[in-house]
């Protein structure tokens, strides 16, 4: 017995601590930074810089933007419609007479609001659902998996559009507010959180430490919140960042087709681009170029952060997600092909 004891202890420690034992630093993200090197670190830093830049722009939009996003005049003087970039209007003037620079700056605010709301909503709905479904199993699990599986087969933009119209009760207004846009996007991403959390839960359910807790008599609620949650929630930040980029594109797609944010409620890059289609036909490039570049830049930033986080934090996810880059463990290992 005395020989067996340390062995038992060590396995328990390995299982219970290893998944959550990665956090060493008090500053969030510091470990991730430390675990990177070379190109990877460059990607992460570049991504963080871009995201921070947009966050700053979004927060200080009223200070940074020279005009309001819907203003077609200043000091009683109307802007000349579709005038090209100049000293007064760095990014030119849109077809409605709005300053493109101001629209782009305020667009960052809209994008950020929608994305944060959508990601938070998806996590709040998707994670508990996945946890319960994965732990309890049975018919509930089967039904939920079947539904999410079918939703995966569905072009996500279509889903978002239909939900967006449903929320606005099919009125002929151009889209709705920030919240309805966020909900439309949420519907697309809840299945992803659900799936990842559910699979992690199913895998963790039979682990010895859960078994032990169950044997002591912990009720399911405690098991889920205290023992399983901490271990299955680890992949969530990575999915959240990867999804955030995707969500920005979905929002822009919604706006482009006219189901996004109401133009008076906020500046939205996709909607601006949809109005710029006809301008492009006349060779007026500035109304489409700048909002488009803003989308590209912020998505690149978020994607770079998500990709590097994915590599660093989540070796487990990598086997499931085929689109990922290489394993850092193997990179650092003895073998290298050249």
């Amino acid at each position: 017995m005395s020989i067996n004891l340390p062995e038992l202890e060590s396995t328990e420690v390995a299982v219970a601590v290893a998944p959550s034992g990665r956090r060493h630093s008090r500053i969030p993200g510091m470990d991730a930074m430390r675990a990177t090197s070379g190109f990877q670190r460059g990607m992460l830093v570049a991504g963080i810089v871009i995201v921070l830049f947009f966050a700053v722009v979004a927060i200080f939009a009223p200070l940074l933007a020279p005009y309001g996003f819907n203003d077609a005049s200043a000091n009683g003087k109307f802007f000349i419609r579709l005038s090209p970039p100049s000293g007064q209007h760095w990014f030119g003037v849109a077809s409605g007479g709005e300053d493109v620079l101001s629209q782009v700056i305020y667009g960052a605010r809209t994008a950020l609001e929608v994305i944060i709301l959508a990601v938070v909503l998806s996590i709040v709905i998707g994670v508990p659902l996945g946890l319960v479904s994965g732990y309890l199993g049975g018919w509930l699990d089967r039904v939920l998996v079947l539904i999410t599986d079918s939703l995966f087969a569905f072009p996500s933009l279509l889903l978002a559009i239909i939900v967006s119209i449903s929320i606005n009760h099919g009125q002929n207004t151009q889209g709705g507010g920030i919240l309805s846009a966020a909900i439309s996007i949420t519907v697309v991403y809840v299945p992803q959180y659900f799936r990842v959390v559910r699979n992690a839960t199913v895998a963790a359910r039979e682990e010895p430490y859960v078994e032990a807790a169950r044997a002591i008599g912990a009720p399911p609620r405690v098991l889920m919140t205290r023992y399983l949650f901490g271990n299955v929630v680890q992949s969530v930040p990575v999915i959240a960042t990867l999804n955030a980029g995707d969500a920005i594109l979905t929002l822009a797609g919604l706006g482009f087709l006219g189901y996004g944010i109401e133009p008076s409620a906020g500046a939205e890059w996709g909607y601006e681009l949809s109005k710029a289609v006809s301008d492009a036909g006349n060779g007026q490039w500035w109304t489409s170029l700048y909002p488009g570049l803003a989308i590209v830049l912020i998505v690149v930033g978020v994607t770079l952060v998500g990709e590097s986080l994915n590599d660093v934090l989540n070796p487990l996810l990598r086997t499931a997600k085929v689109t990922d880059v290489e394993l850092p463990a193997l990179e650092a290992g003895s073998y290298r092909e050249r």
Binding site: F39, L146, L158, G170, F256, G292, V322, T323
Partner: protein, 323 residues
Amino acid sequence: MVWILVTVVFFTVRGIGDPIKSAFAGHLSDAEIAKREHAAGLDKPLLEQYWHYITSVAHGNFGKALTENTPISHILIVNGAATLELSFWAVIVALAVGIPLGRVAARYRDRLPDVGLRLFAVLAYAVPVFFLGLLLKLLFAIKLGWLPANGRAGGQIEPLLNSVSPNTHIYAINAILYGDPSYFWDVIKHAVLPAITLGLLVAGVFLRLVRVNLLQTLRSDYVEAARARGVHEGRVVRKHAFRNALIPVVTVMGLQIAALLGGAVLTETTFEWQGLGYKLAYFLNRRDFVAVQGIVTAAAVIVALISFVIDVIAALIDPRVRY
């Protein structure tokens, strides 16, 4: 699975409102609207409508669009052919760009070409399809005037192409049937920009996939054995690893079809390409939920079918996968 999709679509789409009311309110009397709703079966209880819809879809009957007098099945064939044509060109572009570049990236791992290509993949993912489409249009259609900006064929050519019998609705084939090479050329020129736009959406994914799978295959024992025999590295990649690395790519291609269809909506809107996506946006704006649910259901069925076919193909290529 298809049944669940049909059900989800049916009940969500009801939320987009009443097309007859929204189209004719104010123009027609209430009695007339009620009459039209009765004719369309909209006054029946929802469950009865649902049952009716399910049974008719099972028989391949999607009903008629409410806002125009065309059967949905006709729209699915005519506009579906346009989307099929566009998707075909897009997949060609995606494969032609993604696979060779993924190979290059894996071959020169962590060196300059690889880094550059990985950034390209991220960029290809980050560019919204409609923005890329607009930029291409601005540059090649409007500034340089090399390629047409909109549509599937020139204004005079389109009706001629549609008069071909048998009409396949796929213009490239119709043009061949028509027998005038310049028409075929015209069709191809119209397809270039949309195909690149939609193709690049998927090309980045293919690039990364090929790269990762090739890197994984290059680590396997048999590749090591080939190296140990003194086979040149370029030949190892070409002859030994590449084919096996493609197997997972085939599987993911199936998953990408859904993304392709979603992207097709935006691409078709940008280029006024009269496909299913273009039609879908059109019917959505008119709140014609019968047409919307028909098109969306068809899209879902197509995605489900394609992923099944892809599974079969994967099993054929890879003897380890058996069902």
